[in-house]
């Protein structure tokens, strides 16, 4: 493996950058592994990376139905933050944020982590109080949060529609350490790191079933590239968790929904960080290429189609125009949809399943990208030690039966409202 540095870059410049090695090995499946991870997205690759690096077990395969970076890892809006208010979430997402902060040095890969700030705007006294409460919960957990008044928000983002007749901006909750990262580079970096430590990354390999023992335990997987035996099988296939779960006989507290995202033509720098509208569902940031990256609500009906419908586009654009009318003349370049595991309380699952040998990482709703490092870290911990990591102990599969839901939004058991 080539260590990326200014020296290796200069050396390769001399040969016209024609001799860079492949970033990871495109492995063929072996007969058996200690651990097989289904799903070669950010979470699966991060899991493999930390299994190899932290737990010293590289006898691991990552199976990907398509190609690395071709699923939801390439369909998100790249935002990272740890501004959660409920116990169970705060420590986990802060763990993730700390891993983001050291990720490039750890991976020796430029994941373009940019802590440009995440600003949640509030538009009423009640919303200010709710944000103050969440900000206080964050600060009590050692996470940075600042409650800004309108004058402070004006200094940060003078272009906002402060005097909107119906939803005037009163202020915002700012997490300066939040921001964005380059989604493709995150999967490529984790794939490179895992592969270099001996993990097999197997693409174009779809799981079609599970090999079961006489006691029902999962002993391996059937795939389009043949059977693969495994000491443990970990699912990291958010969006399709129910389909894989059904193959093993599991019925899960998850619905699949489609979330759309949009990007405009490239503009000069206009949006300083990530800004969210508190009176509708609209969030926006600007990519390093200049495109405005924005989105809003999920479409709201069950879908595996990876594409949405126009009412959500209209709703999102109305939110954008209410918040920052200056973007009205920017032209929309692309839109896309990703399939999300929506759980019944809006929070993820990292846990053993009732089936011996089968472990579950899923239910990331529409917030999985920011969780990638900690999700991998905690799932690796669970797979290696059979015990939950301390920051993910609340993400139990049985919490819906025991009443220990983590419902940040307080919506109840209606998946499309989270």
């Amino acid at each position: 493996m080539t260590h990326f540095s200014i020296l290796s870059f200069a050396a390769h410049a001399l040969s016209g950058h024609k001799n860079w090695a492949a970033t990871w090995r495109d492995a063929a499946p072996r007969d058996a592994y200690d651990i097989v991870i289904v799903g070669g997205g950010g979470h699966g690759l991060a899991t493999a990376y930390y299994l190899a690096k932290v737990h010293g077990n590289a006898n691991v395969a990552v199976l990907e139905r398509g190609w690395i970076g071709g699923g939801n890892a390439g369909r998100n809006t790249t935002i990272i933050r740890s501004n959660y208010g409920l116990e169970g979430n705060t420590a986990f997402y802060e763990h993730s944020m700390k891993l983001w902060e050291g990720l490039e040095q750890d991976l020796n890969y430029n994941t373009m982590v940019s802590q440009r700030g995440v600003l949640n705007l509030y538009h009423s006294d009640g919303q200010r109080d709710a944000y103050a409460r969440r900000g206080n919960a964050m600060r009590l957990n050692g996470i940075d949060a600042e409650l800004l008044d309108q004058a402070s928000v004006r200094r940060l983002a003078p272009f906002l529609n402060f005097d909107h007749a119906r939803f005037p901006i009163q202020g915002g909750l700012l997490q300066r350490r939040g921001g964005t990262a380059r989604h493709d580079a995150v999967v490529w970096g984790y794939a490179r790191g895992a592969s270099n430590r001996g993990v097999d990354i197997i693409q174009n390999c779809e799981v079609t079933g599970f090999k079961r023992g006489h006691d029902g335990a999962v002993l391996g997987v059937e795939t389009t590239r043949g059977p693969i035996m495994a000491g443990k099988v970990g699912l990291a296939v958010a969006g399709n968790t129910s389909r894989l779960g059904a193959m093993a006989g599991l019925r899960l507290p998850i619905e699949s929904h489609v979330l759309q995202a949009f990007v405009s033509e490239g503009l000069k720098p206009v949006i300083p960080g990530v800004i969210t509208f508190g009176a509708g569902h609209f969030y926006i940031s600007q990519s390093d290429k200049g495109g405005l990256v924005f989105g809003g609500d999920i479409d709201g009906y069950n879908s595996y189609a990876s594409r949405g419908n126009l009412p959500v586009l209209e709703d999102v654009c109305e939110g954008g125009m209410a918040l920052m009318p200056m973007i009205g003349r920017a032209r929309l370049l692309r839109s896309w949809g990703g399939v999300c595991d929506m759980t019944m309380d809006g929070s993820p699952i990292i846990d053993r399943t009732p089936i011996p040998g089968l472990y579950l990482n899923g239910g990331w709703c529409y917030g999985g990208f920011k969780a990638t490092p900690a999700s991998g870290w905690c799932f690796a911990h669970l797979l290696a030690t059979d015990a939950p990591h301390e920051t993910a102990a609340a993400y139990r599969l049985d919490r819906f039966a025991t009443g220990r839901m983590i419902d940040e939004k307080g919506q109840g058991a209606q998946a499309n409202l989270h």
């Binding site: 129910s242 019925r251 998850i254 619905e255 069950n302 595996y304 189609a305």
Partner: protein, 88 residues
């Protein structure tokens, strides 16, 4: 996406509110409530689901829609579909 409301005809989905899987039936016994409230088949393929035509005739309808393609193959009034418990 448009839904063929049996009463109003083809209408934009903006007029409808989604409730979800129409195969779920409120159970008799409390012990079965957990599965009813929290667990879902989450079908990838044709699925029968409840929609409410809130900005139209205000009927509950049962739509059969393929979750992989969004193709709608059937829509009937929920009353006509004789849901055992029926949507409210």
């Amino acid at each position: 996406m448009r839904l063929p409301c049996p009463f109003c005809g083809d209408r934009d989905i903006q007029e409808f509110v989604y409730r979800g899987d129409a195969s779920l039936v409120r159970p008799e016994h409390e012990a079965d409530m957990f599965a009813y409230v929290y667990l879902r088949d989450n079908v990838a393929g044709p699925m029968r689901e409840h929609w409410y035509h809130t900005q139209g005739c205000r009927n509950w309808i049962v739509v059969t829609r393929d979750t992989r393609t969004h193709e709608v193959s059937d829509a009937v009034l929920a009353r006509a579909a004789s849901e055992p418990e029926g949507p409210r």
